[in-house]
Symmetry: C2
Subunit: 422 residues, 2 copies
């Protein structure tokens, strides 16, 4: 054993106490890592290292945060809290003072501290690497990289500076070409860089967050998805060989939302509402939207509807509750209670799609040309809120008792990985 | 090891294959065994045998069947299927041909076979003991007790006959007085009898189903509830000492549904609907109702509403969706899809209460005098559909992979206990 020997220290982050890591803790968020991929590849024997963690460590299926999008779930993991606490419940919310959408993907609107920033402040060495840069900034909230910490994205791997990222010349250092935004290498780059940092600097905490390009594009039975998981598995094996605690989870799952003809099942909700209530009476926000939407056309399983004042939430719910493909249309208070979301960033009505359906705003505002004949696979609803929760090491008895008597949430991944393993 | 040596046999029940049990498999359904009881008593060290199973075996929190009532969940366990398959989605449904409620607690309406009946037919010795007799009849569907099997309830322990129960003179044989219907002994009797049968006859499969009198009456912090769990734990320890696989789960949880003054938070839904739509236009069925309701007054977290024809489901949903304390009001198709329930026994509208609220029909039809000053604690909703899932022995690798990639359901308890352990 090569555990780091330090005086016993407890670091408290957002009211959860974390012990000093016994060995490096590496948390990987497999973006879009629906349990169905694992189910298939475990049965096929295609992911032997993951199978080994499941056999020798701890594994279950956890509840992710709602909506089942990337930002809310990454923030839940990095803060160890539900969205009701950290406040990031999507990529956008609507400011009803200005009626403008407000981007929530920066660090400014994130409430509370991150686990890595608090550990860094306590003297730990930390690393955060993401596929997309949008996530990188938010994950690095409160982190001063001048103290030897590292925070960068594979998206901007060629633009890293010591001042901003705590590392530079990443492409040359890693010896791996800069990956394209729509490639599986964008994720593999994150893991290769994490592994090299682990070997060279042996940091205490690493958060490695991938991207879901592969899962949006390919179903579990498709060869490209299997090849991606085989490469992930190889990297997980090499990471685990470094005497660490490796934790694997996902931000959300992924569902096929096309019909038998391969056409997406879409509800254009703004059009539906405009037809009923008139133009500019309601505003539909698709909180999955970001700058890289070619693989899903900004269509997801969860949208928000604000009223401009004349239409009541109840009228909106009544009208869309009966639309085929809608799973739930909930008023603000019910949605926030059911899904543990922040009230002040919630719409008048939160809308969840059925597993086989996705929701957009107006047909004219969504560009589906990027699908290029692929079936639409996306996420955001309850049907994509179950995620794997795997630790390479067994739980200690206290956390076995916790897992036996408290529903497992993916926002507990740092808690379990740091405090819960033997 | 004292495993039973037999030729390898596979028994298929409702499309799930079960291997021949390596040793006796004892499944205990802790009626109303909300995870909060375990959480508290594990932390207090009050249940050392359960803690040992959790440490050495397998434990998680599973999803129970909806509605979170006793009959649906016991039938899910004994058939290894969700309610959509076995058809028992409550104690009652409404026959719209006659507009009369139909009791669903007999074996006639149960679809598919039970695990114990199929194993019995294949030559195994099986035992089913319940607290209440209503459940006993349904659990014994297809079981011919003349072949040495046992099926009885502690409620009718003094009335057992060889022809009906496969055992007689139970009170004398067990040496334990006949327990009252509202006593913790009613459950302990089930376990003591199961233990004695295990020692004397070593059957292959035992299903022991308790009653939730204690959990309806006392919260986890109350001494009587702790005493009950201590006595359960002692019995679980004695059972596990017999070289068995012991599986512990619950049919549903239990939530406090009273206000600060100790008065129940009740929505009288039939009264609400009659006031809006007129008398006899809708029919509210409380599927928790049975003959023994003193401890909850037939108030639960889930009710069904049928329309007599003039009022649409959408109108009903619109009217009650806005009532404070209602969590969800869902049309038949949505409810059945979300909760995996049978369409042909579902109402036009399924109504789920908020965690702190329960729903009744008309105030005049519910007798709350049985509460005798106790806070109302009951179940039926989503908030009571999480249950412990504990095995005294570790999972084999195949079932570790299953648990890592498939959400855990309490209806899988026989599958995990028989097929999943080392």
């Amino acid at each position: 054993m090569n555990a780091t020997h330090r005086p016993p220290v407890t670091v408290t982050v957002n009211e959860t106490s974390y012990r000093w890591p016994l060995r490096p803790v590496v948390v990987v968020c497999i973006d879009g890592g629906d349990p169905r991929y694992l189910r298939r590849y475990l049965a096929e024997g295609a992911v032997p290292h993951i199978a080994h963690f499941i056999s020798q460590g701890f594994a279950g299926v956890a509840e992710g945060s709602m909506p089942s999008f990337t930002c809310p779930n990454n923030m839940s993991m990095i803060t160890g809290t539900p969205t009701s606490k950290h406040g990031i419940s999507g990529n956008f919310y609507l400011d009803t003072a200005t009626w403008q959408p407000v981007v929530m993907t920066g660090p400014e609107l994130l409430r509370g501290d991150t686990v890595i920033a608090r550990f860094a402040a306590a003297g730990a060495k930390v690393v955060s690497i993401t596929a997309k840069d949008k996530l990188r900034r938010q994950l690095a909230k409160g982190l001063d990289v001048s103290q030897g910490h590292v925070s960068f994205s594979s998206e901007f791997a060629d633009k890293c500076t010591m001042a901003e990222n705590g590392i530079e010349n990443v492409i040359e250092w890693l010896g791996m070409g800069k990956p394209g935004m729509y490639s599986m290498e964008l994720s593999l780059f994150v893991l290769e860089a994490g592994l090299k940092l682990l070997r060279e600097r042996r940091p205490d905490l690493l958060f490695l967050s991938l991207t879901d390009f592969v899962q949006h594009k390919w179903a579990p039975e498709e060869a490209d998805a299997r090849r991606f998981y085989e490469r992930l598995d190889d990297l997980f094996g090499r990471l685990a060989a470094e005497d660490i605690t490796l934790a694997l989870t996902a931000d959300h799952g992924m569902s096929d939302k096309s019909n038998a003809a391969g056409e997406p099942n879409v509800i254009w909700l703004q059009d539906v509402l405009d037809a009923r209530f008139g133009k500019d009476q309601t505003i539909v926000i698709c909180p999955i939207t970001d700058a890289f939407v070619a693989h899903h056309g900004a269509l997801g399983g969860f949208v928000r509807v604000w009223s401009r004042g004349k239409v009541t939430a109840r009228q909106i719910i009544e009208h869309i509750g009966g639309v085929d493909g809608i799973e739930l249309a909930l008023d603000k208070a019910t949605a926030c209670r059911m899904f543990d979301m922040p009230m002040d960033r919630e719409a008048d009505v939160a809308v969840v799609a059925r597993e086989d359906t996705c929701i957009g705003a107006s047909a004219k505002d969504h560009d589906l040309s990027g699908l290029k004949g692929h079936r639409l696979r996306t996420h955001g609803g309850v049907s994509e809120a179950k995620v794997p929760f795997i630790l390479s090491r067994p739980l200690n008895d206290a956390y076995k008792a916790k897992a036996a008597s408290t529903p497992l949430k993916s926002w507990q991944i740092f808690d379990y990985a740091i405090n819960g393993t033997v």
